[in-house]
């Protein structure tokens, strides 16, 4: 398998000869095949999601008629509770992260308070602390705080962990804003709170969007932590919810696939509305450094 991917990665480039951009044809074909392979499992899921059990037994991997939409009706009923939990927990987290990280980033970038370098590095150092080190003690902490089986058991730790990347991105942005502008506001008698709220935040709207998108992607995909702190499955967000849904209905393949596909839709919708921020967020300079 490795040799196959190497030949795609480099081999044919050797034969490419001179010129900046020759050989579009084979590149398009190679990438097209890769993309087709990437999407193949989803196409399989779409085909199976419209099958009744007997249709699946007869023709498992090709389309059959009539299409069984009732698989989706069934899945919606189960998935919607998980989706609601996801919206509550990821939504509350993203609001907390935006608020906390923009405040701290503004302070680090624009207010010269004694000791700010030290405090900033104290925050930054946590980038090096992996989740594996904190998993067990975090669980005990949540238990001792009596937050087990509440959504706070997800929201509070997620805010704490999510604000780091937000502070990095927003601090870089606030520093790039012209300092004279902030000085002019101060001369006019504005407090830092007013400058933060009326000047800095409105200017940074698209960067806040980038932070929000990255944060939602991070919390949305969290599989294991919610299963630890939420003993009741009806509290689970979508990601562990889909896992338990598949465990429970494994042999009703049509229903399982319908559920997995429905569960993919929210992020696709988010992407449609924020596609520019998505690409910006994933390729922005703040992540590179």
């Amino acid at each position: 398998m490795a040799t196959r991917s190497e030949s795609i990665a480099g081999g044919p480039a050797q034969r490419q000869g001179r010129g900046l951009h020759r050989g579009d044809a084979w590149r398009t074909v190679a990438l097209g095949i890769l993309c087709a392979l990437m999407i193949a499992p989803l196409i399989m899921a779409i085909i199976i999601s419209f099958k009744s059990p007997s249709q699946f037994t007869r023709v498992p991997f090709l389309p059959t008629w009539p299409m069984r939409w009732e698989n989706y009706e069934f899945a919606v009923q189960i998935i919607s509770q998980f989706l609601l939990n996801s919206i509550i927990t990821s939504g509350a987290t993203v609001i907390g992260v935006l608020l906390l990280s923009s405040l701290a980033a503004y302070s680090f970038a624009q207010i010269r308070f004694p000791g700010r370098t030290f405090v900033f590095y104290a925050v930054l150092a946590l980038m090096m602390v992996p989740a594996s080190l904190t998993l067990v003690p975090s669980f005990v902490l949540i238990r001792d705080l009596r937050l087990i089986n509440t959504h706070w058991s997800l929201i509070l730790p997620w805010i704490a962990g999510g604000q780091l990347i937000g502070i990095l991105i927003l601090r870089a942005f606030f520093e790039s804003l012209p300092g004279e502008m902030f000085d002019a506001c101060r001369i006019d008698g504005a407090t830092d709170w007013q400058i933060y709220w009326h000047v800095a935040l409105p200017l940074t709207r698209s960067m806040l969007g980038v932070v929000a998108v990255l944060n939602i992607l991070g919390t949305w995909n969290n599989l294991i932590w919610p299963t630890l702190t939420l003993p009741e499955r009806k509290m689970w967000p979508l990601t562990p919810g889909l896992y338990s849904y598949m465990e429970q209905y494994y042999t009703s393949y049509g229903r399982v696939m319908a559920g997995l596909l429905l569960g993919s839709i929210p992020l696709v919708i988010l992407f449609v509305f924020t596609s520019r921020l998505f690409v910006e967020g994933l390729t922005s300079g703040a992540i590179k450094t």
Binding site: S5, E6, I8, A9, A13, G17, L20, G23, D24, R27, T28, L31, L34, M38, A45, F56, L100, S101, L103, A104, Y106, I111, F113, P114, V123, L126, M128, P130, A131, S132, L133, T134, L135, V136, P137, S138, V140, P157, A160, G161, Q163, I167, D192, L217, L223, I224, L238, T239, M246, Y253, L267, V268, L270, F271, F278, V279, L282, T283, I287, K288
Partner: protein, 298 residues
């Protein structure tokens, strides 16, 4: 007149107030658990009990008396090396391919397509692959039977010798969209003049890649190597969802073994020690990487 420290602190009190919420959250939910994890790794600590201080006994047991842990380290190394090949090597190839496409339309399409693995929830792909590997109704065995290779069919996730490779080769063709996009951004930031002058000197194809493009995206590659190693050492949600470490611990990775010790058999102190080992591995790998792979500025 020079202001005293206290006057400066008082004048900038808003600055402190604005970082207080952040610091409060970090202290309670990050610093405290991290320090507690380091401390508790030296205890014989079960849930609910105070536990006894046993020094480094947990670590000694891990490395001398825990075959499953040693196997989990081997699996972790295998997976991490594989993720490096796939996420860094293969992604570089795909990024270069996309970068060199001249047609703007198809270039845009492929770039957009690379988002797909990001917006499909990771768990959905893991679960789809669990289904693909299914021994009785999975399409992988169906395809093998279809092309006459009955002997090659397996219970992919249930055979101890094969399961770890099944976990490893999930998500074929293993393109990581995030890596591709990060590398693509690096390639696009290379000034045209550099590539053109290189072309005048006869650097095209392989040589353009080897001597111009790769050196100029070392920053991105370095970042991806660090992120991939951190991820490879820690990630266990795929194992958790596909095999739970089985069959007979053949797909065990340190994260999964930590989870098992902490939450199935309540050996919290021992699990903390596993967490500390994972932390040290990522720390050493990151430092080595920062030290020995230098990026070139232009």
């Amino acid at each position: 007149m020079k202001k005293t420290l206290w006057e400066r602190i008082w004048e900038t009190k808003t600055g402190y107030l604005m970082v207080v919420p952040t610091l409060a959250f970090l202290l309670v939910f990050q610093y405290y658990p991290a320090i507690s994890g380091l401390y508790r790794s030296m205890f014989d600590w079960n849930a609910g009990l105070a536990g006894n201080f046993i020094g480094l006994a947990n670590f000694v047991e891990l490395f001398t008396d825990d075959e499953v842990f040693i196997r989990s380290l081997r699996n972790m190394a295998l997976l991490t090396i594989w993720y490096l090949v796939a996420f860094v090597g293969l992604s570089t190839g795909v990024a270069v391919l996309i970068h060199r496409i001249r047609n703007e339309g198809s270039k845009y399409f492929f770039r957009l397509f690379m988002i797909l693995p990001v917006i499909i929830p990771a768990v959905v792909l893991i679960l789809l692959w669990k289904f693909i590997y299914d021994s009785t109704i999975g399409p992988l065995n169906a395809i093998l039977i279809g092309v006459g290779l009955q002997d090659w069919t397996h219970a992919w996730l249930a055979e101890p010798k094969i399961a770890i490779y099944a976990v490893m080769f999930r998500n074929f063709p293993w393109i990581d969209g995030v890596s591709v996009l990060i590398l693509l951004a690096g390639l696009q930031a290379i000034p045209v003049e550099i590539v053109e002058s290189g072309l005048l000197d006869g650097a095209s194809g392989w040589r353009r890649l080897r001597y111009i493009e790769l050196p100029l995206i070392t920053g991105q590659i370095k970042l991806l190597i660090v992120l991939t190693i951190m991820w490879g050492v820690q990630e266990y949600s795929a194992v958790w969802a596909m095999t739970q470490g089985g069959p007979i611990d053949s797909t065990q990775v340190p994260g999964m073994w930590m989870y098992f010790n902490a939450f199935r058999i309540s050996r919290m102190g021992y699990a903390s020690a596993i967490g500390v080992v994972m932390f040290l591995i990522t720390l050493v790998a990151t430092i080595l990487n920062m030290r020995y792979i230098r990026s070139q500025e232009y």
